[in-house]
Symmetry: C2
Subunit: 690 residues, 2 copies
C-alpha cells in the first residue's frame, strides 16, 4: 500500500492501476490511497461509535452530527445508531490531538480508515483528519442486498493542497445565513476547508459595522449580517473544519461603502447602491489620509470579528476613471512620482497591507495586487489566468488558483476539473516554488444567484473542483468523475442542499401547473449561456432587482442528460450500439420531436414560458432531424447531400442562444446528420465546453 502511495505521488502520467479501485467506490474526492477488502460492514440500527484517546468537544459534536447524517441517509431514528464505549463500538475513532480553537492554514488533515466486515477504525493525528474520515465513511454507506453497509477497505488519505476554498459573493445578491450553513455542510462533505466570504460590492455592503454603521445601514437595503450572526457562522464553519476568510473589496467594487461615506470616494457624492452589473468608476481616494484612517479603524474592527489569519482586500478591477478626473489625485501622482494608475493602486495596496499587518492579519488579494514591493507573506489569488499564479510563486509569493474555477460561468464539471493549480505554467515551477501554490478556490459570483438557485450553481460541480484540490494530481478520469459526482450530488441532498430538489418547484412555478413533463424534457437538455454572455444577450440591461425565476435561472449549468445523449451517439457512431441502445436513442428523439406540441399549451398560460417557445421549437426540429438521420443510418443508404445541408441549417439555428439558453443536444444531432450523409463527424469531446 505504501508503494502505491509513493508511486501516486511521484508519477506524472495517468495511472489506470490507481484509478481502478477508485471507480469501485463512490468517493469524491478520491482518497490518496485506497485498497479494497473483502465483504462489508453492516450499518444497522445497532451500529455504534466511540471516541478513544482525546475527548475534544469539537470531535464529540462532529460525531453527533455524523450520526444525524447517517440517520438521515438511512432513514434510521434517533434511538438507532448511538455513541457507546470503545469496547463495544462498531466504529472506533482515535484522533491524537485537538486542533486550535481557530483553525490555521496547513494543519494536519490526514486520516486513515480501516473497515472490515465486523468493525471500523478511524485514526488521525488531529480532529480535522477525523472529521474528513467521518465524511469519507458517510459517502461509503450504500444500500445493499442485506442492509445498509460500508465496503471493507483500507484508506490512507491526506489533501494535496492545504487551501481548498469556495468563494460565495453575498454582495451582489444577499444570501441568508441558513443558505450559507447548508453550503458549509456541503463543503465539509467534499473536504473543502475555506469559505471565502465576499462581503462587500458595489451592490451591497453586508456586514454590520459598529464603528461605521452607515456602511450596513445605508449600503445594504437592510440585507446584512449582524456581528452575532457572523460569529455564529464562523463557529458553524470551524466546527466543520472550515476556515472563514472575509473579503472587503477595495479600492474599487466599493460603491456601497460610499452611500454612507461619500468622503472615501475619489469623486463627490452622493452615491446610491448600484443596481446594475459590471465594472464601475467609483473608487476609494488613495491620496487622502482620511481614507487610511477609516480603513485602519474599519479593518481593526473586522480583524476582531473574523478570527482567521487571512484577510482579503480584493484589489481587482479598478478602471481609474475617478482618479483621472480628480485634479487633486493627479497632482498627488505628480508630486509623488507615481507614473500611472496601476502604480497608484500599488501605493494604496502597500498602505492597506501595512494596516492589515498592524492588525495581525495576512493580506490576500486578487492578482492585480501582485507587485514586488509587497512583502512576501501576502497571498495572491489568481483569477485572470494561471500565468499570474506561476509568476507569483516565482517571485516568492504564495498563491491560490481561481482561474478555471468560476462556477458562475456555467462551464461543465469536466472543464473545471481540467484546471490544475500546478498545471500549465505551474508545471515548470521548482519544487520550492510549487510549495507556494497553496491550492485554489471555486468562485460563486452573485449576479444571477438567489437563495433559491445558488445551490444549483455551486453543486455538484464544485465537488469536482474539490477533488482536484484534494486528490492526487493523477486522478483525472473524467467518466469516473461524472459517475461519482452524480452519487455525491445525491448524498448532498440529505444535507438539505437544494441543487436537485429546487428544480421541479421552479419549473412548476413557471408552468403555473403540476403538469411539467414537457417543460422538464426541455429544461433537462438546455444550459444557461456561458461566460459573461447572459448580460450581453439580455433584452434589457439586467439589474439586481430582476426576479430570478426564468428557465435560465432554473436550468442546470451542465445538462447531464445532454452529456449522456452525446455518449449514446458516440456509441452508435462507433458501431457499438445494440438494438436496445438504438431504441433508446430513438425514444429520446421522439420525445423531443413531440415535446413542443405538449409545451405550447403551458406557454399559452404563462408569461414565464413565452420566451422558451423558440428553443422548444428547435428541440422539436432536432428531434425530427435526428429521427430522419437514424432512418438513413439504419437503412444503410446515405442521406441526400441536400437534405443534410438543410438539416445542418436547422442545427446552426438551434445552436444560437435563445432566452439566454443553449440547446445542448445540437452538436450530437449534428453528428447524427453528418454520419447519415456519410460525412466525418469528429468526436463528442471536441464540442467546445464538453
Amino acid at each position: 500500500m505504501r508503494t502505491i502511495f509513493i508511486l501516486l505521488m511521484l508519477c506524472s502520467v495517468p495511472m489506470p492501476m490507481a484509478a481502478q479501485p477508485q471507480a469501485a467506490v463512490n468517493l469524491m474526492p478520491i482518497p490518496t490511497n485506497l485498497r479494497m477488502g473483502t465483504g462489508r460492514l453492516a450499518i444497522d440500527p445497532s451500529f455504534s461509535v466511540a471516541i478513544s484517546a482525546n475527548s475534544d468537544p469539537r470531535l464529540q459534536r462532529a460525531v453527533e452530527r455524523f450520526l444525524n447524517d447517517l440517520r438521515r441517509q438511512t432513514g434510521m431514528l434517533p434511538v438507532n445508531v448511538r455513541v457507546t464505549d470503545a469496547s463495544k463500538a462498531t466504529l472506533v475513532i482515535r484522533a491524537e490531538h485537538a486542533n486550535k480553537e481557530v483553525l490555521a492554514l496547513g494543519e494536519d488533515e490526514s486520516y486513515s480508515l480501516d473497515v472490515t466486515s465486523s468493525s471500523a477504525k478511524l485514526e488521525a493525528p488531529t480532529t480535522l483528519g477525523a472529521l474528513h474520515g467521518l465524511q469519507t465513511f458517510l459517502q461509503l454507506v450504500a444500500t445493499t442486498t442485506d442492509g445498509f453497509a460500508v465496503p471493507a477497505l483500507s484508506i490512507q488519505d491526506k489533501p494535496r493542497f492545504p487551501w481548498r476554498g469556495l468563494l460565495i459573493d453575498v454582495g451582489r445578491h444577499f444570501i441568508p445565513l441558513d443558505v450559507l450553513k447548508r453550503n458549509l455542510d456541503g463543503m465539509a462533505a467534499v473536504k473543502l476547508n475555506v469559505l471565502h466570504w465576499h462581503l462587500s460590492e458595489n451592490q451591497g455592503f453586508r456586514v454590520e459595522s459598529k464603528k461605521f454603521p452607515k456602511l450596513h445601514e445605508m449600503g445594504s437595503d437592510g440585507l446584512f449580517y449582524t456581528q452575532d450572526e457572523i460569529r455564529d457562522l464562523i463557529a458553524y464553519a470551524q466546527e466543520r473544519g472550515i476556515r472563514v476568510m472575509p473579503e472587503f473589496d477595495m479600492p474599487g467594487h466599493s460603491t456601497a461603502w460610499f452611500v454612507g461615506y461619500p468622503e472615501l470616494a475619489s469623486a463627490p457624492g452622493p452615491y446610491q447602491i448600484e443596481r446594475k452589473w459590471g465594472v464601475f468608476d467609483p473608487a476609494m481616494d488613495p491620496t487622502q489620509e482620511r481614507t487610511y484612517k477609516f480603513l485602519d479603524d474599519f479593518i481593526g474592527e473586522m480583524a476582531g470579528l473574523f478570527p482567521d489569519q487571512y484577510f482579503h482586500i480584493g484589489g481587482d478591477e479598478v478602471n481609474g476613471k475617478q482618479w483621472e478626473a480628480n485634479p487633486k489625485i493627479q497632482e498627488f501622482k505628480r508630486s509623488h512620482g507615481i507614473k500611472n494608475n496601476e502604480d497608484l493602486q500599488a501605493y494604496f495596496n502597500k498602505r492597506v497591507q501595512e494596516i492589515v499587518s498592524k492588525h495581525g492579519k495576512t493580506m490576500v488579494g486578487w492578482d492585480e495586487i501582485l507587485r514586488p514591493d509587497l512583502p512576501k507573506n501576502i497571498v495572491v489569488q489568481s483569477w485572470r489566468g494561471q500565468e499570474s499564479l506561476a509568476a507569483a510563486a516565482k517571485q516568492g509569493y504564495r498563491g491560490l488558483l481561481s482561474h478555471g474555477y468560476y462556477v458562475d460561468l456555467m462551464w461543465s464539471a469536466e472543464r473545471h476539473y481540467s484546471f490544475d493549480p500546478l498545471g500549465g505554467p505551474g508545471a515548470n515551477l521548482t519544487p520550492e516554488e510549487k510549495q507556494r501554490v497553496l491550492g485554489g478556490e471555486a468562485c460563486m459570483w452573485g449576479e444571477y444567484v438567489s437563495p433559491e438557485n445558488i445551490d444549483s450553481r455551486i453543486w455538484p460541480r464544485t465537488a469536482a473542483i474539490a477533488e482536484r484540490l484534494w486528490s492526487p494530481q493523477e486522478v483525472r478520469d473524467v467518466n469516473s468523475m461524472y459517475q461519482r459526482m452524480e452519487k455525491v450530488s445525491r448524498k448532498l441532498d440529505w444535507l438539505g442542499l437544494t441543487h436537485n430538489s429546487g428544480y421541479a418547484p421552479m419549473l412548476r412555478r413557471m408552468a403555473g401547473s403540476d403538469n411539467i413533463s414537457a417543460l422538464r424534457a426541455l429544461a433537462d437538455v438546455v444550459e444557461p449561456v456561458k461566460d459573461y454572455s447572459r448580460g450581453e444577450l439580455a433584452a434589457a440591461e439586467p439589474t439586481s432587482a430582476d426576479p430570478l425565476n426564468r428557465l435560465v435561472d432554473a436550468a442546470r449549468p451542465e445538462s447531464l442528460a445532454a452529456r449522456k445523449f452525446a455518449g449514446q451517439v458516440d456509441q452508435l457512431l462507433s458501431g457499438k450500439a445494440d438494438a436496445d441502445a438504438k431504441a433508446q436513442i430513438r425514444s429520446l428523439l421522439i420525445l423531443w420531436r413531440d415535446n413542443q406540441a405538449k409545451l405550447q399549451p403551458l406557454a399559452d398560460q404563462s408569461f414565464l414560458l413565452k420566451e422558451v417557445v423558440p428553443i422548444s421549437r428547435d428541440l422539436s426540429s432536432l428531434g425530427s432531424a435526428g429521427l430522419s438521420a437514424m432512418d438513413y443510418l439504419e437503412s444503410g443508404q446515405h442521406a441526400p447531400a441536400d437534405w443534410a445541408t438543410e438539416q445542418r441549417g436547422l442545427v446552426e439555428e438551434a445552436k444560437k442562444p435563445k432566452a439566454q439558453l443553449l440547446l445542448m443536444i445540437a452538436p450530437s444531432i449534428q453528428r447524427l446528420i453528418q454520419a447519415s450523409a456519410g460525412q466525418a463527424t469528429g468526436s463528442s469531446s471536441n464540442q467546445g465546453d464538453r
Copy 2:
C-alpha cells in the same frame, strides 16, 4: 352577495350555485362568501403592502412573513415587493384591533378581501382575521399569461367553527421543533388555529420539568423539548394565529412517567420506556394522595409554561389491570363505594379537574372522561364516534370531533371530508346544543411517523379537514375538493413542508440508485394498509426503534394516481372515453404490465425492496389483465366467462395486503374485467375507502 351568504347558511342540501364560483379559484378552505370580479391584479416586483389604522406588531410581522412567502412563491427577491405607506400600496390592510397577547378561543377571525385590477383591500375586526386574509391572498396568486396575478374578487369570510385543530403526537416518536414549525406554517396556510401537542406517552415524556426532572431525563431517551424551546414554539404559533394546547395523558398512557417516578404507578416498578405499541397496563394510582400532590405541582408548573386556557389531560384507554391487581386499590374502591374501574377513573378525573381548575385552566379530555359529575365548563374530545359528541352537547358539555379525522389511519381525503362535527347524531341537536360543538381536530398519532415522513401523513389530507371545519357545511363537492387540495398541496411546498419533496429521496434510498422510475410507478399506486392493520400484518411485532424507511413509510396515504385511474375507467365504462382517453388507459396498463421487469433488478440490489416484489408482480398481472379486458371491450365481443373468472382470481390476490401495502388500482381493473365479460361493474365510488 348578502343573499348568497344567507342562503348558504340556511340551506341543508348541496348548492351547485354556491359551488360554482368556488371551483374557479384555488382556495382551501373555501370562503363563506365569494364573488368573482373582472380582470386581475398584477403581482409584480413593484407590488407593495401597507397597514392602515392599528400598528399591532404581530400584524407587522405577519406582513413581513407574507412578503417572504410571496417572494418564495413567485421567485421574487428581497428588494422586490415591499412595505410602503397606504397612499401608494397595492394591498392595504386594515385590522381594527390587536388580539390579546395570549390568543383565546372564539375571538373574531372574520375578514373581507376586495381585489380589483388595480388594488386590493383587506379588512378585519382583529389581527387574526387579517392573518387569515393574507393566507387567502397567497393562495390566490397564480402564474398567468402576463405575470403573476390575483383574480379580481370580493370575499367575506369567517370560520364555521372556532376550534380547528391538529393533534401531533410527539410521545411515540419524537418530532423536532423545526418539523413542528413548518407544520405550524402549514396549519396557518389552511386556517387551522389550534396545535394540540400530545406530549407524553408510554413511549416518551417530551417536556423538560424543572420540578420533576426525572420525567424528561429518564422518560425520553434524551429526546425532549426544553422549556425555552416550548416557549419558542408557542410564540411561533401565536404569531401565526394558532393556540397551543398541551396534553399530558393520564392516568393511562403514562409508562414514561413511571421510569423516573415509579411511586405514581399502581404497581411496583421499576419501569422502562415502552418500545411497543398498544394499550398497556401501567396507570397512575388514583387512590393515593401523593399522586394528586405530584399532579398539583406538575400541572402548576405546566400551567405556567403553557399560556393557553385549555389543558388536555387525556383520560383515554385505561385497561384497569394494574388497579385490579392491587389489593390496596381494591380496598379503596370498596371503602369509598366505587363500583368499577370506570367510576374509579371518574373519581380520578374529578380530582384532576379540580387541580387543573385551581391553576386557572379549563380541562379537556378524551370522550371516556364524560361523566355528569364533572363541571360543565370542561371540553370533551370525541374519538370513538360522533355519538359521544352529541351526547356531550346534550348534557351541556362543549365538545370537539376527532372521530373521522385520524390521519394515521391512512384514509382518503374524501372519507375524512365526509365527517362533519354536526353530521350524524349532531344534526338533530338544538341550535343551543350545536353551539357547544366547538369544532374538531385532525389527529396525527405517532406510531409510524418520523421527522422524515410525518408531513406526508399530515398533508395534504389535513387541508380537506381544515375546510370541513372552516367552510359552510354545504361545501362538499368532492371533485372540487380534490382539485383544490392538489393546488394547495403545492402551495404548501413553498413553506418547506416535505410531503411532496420527501417522496423521491426515500425511493432513491430504497433503490440505492437514482434510477427509480419503476419503483415510483409502483409506489404511486399503492397505499399503506388502513386503520390498525399495519401492526396486525407485521411479520415481527413493531417497535419504536424500527427504522421507518420502507415503502409503506414512503407511500402516500392516498394514491391520487389510482384515484385518477378510477375516474378514467368510469369514463370508459360510461361510454364517454374518446380515442385519446382510451390510449391513456392503455399506456398506463402497459406501464404497469412491464414494470415488474424493470423493478426486479432494483430489488435484486436492495434489502428494502425485496418485500415489494410480490405486490410489484401483482401490478404486472393487473396491467396484463386490464389490457386483455381492453382488447375484449374494443373488439365488441364479451370475454369468455372462464377467462373472467380466472382474472377475477388474480384481482382477489392483488387485493390482499402485501408488505403492509394495498394495490389501489385493483378495483378499477376488476371493473374493466367485469365489463369486458358483460357483467355489471358498479361504480368506482363503491370501492370501500374511495
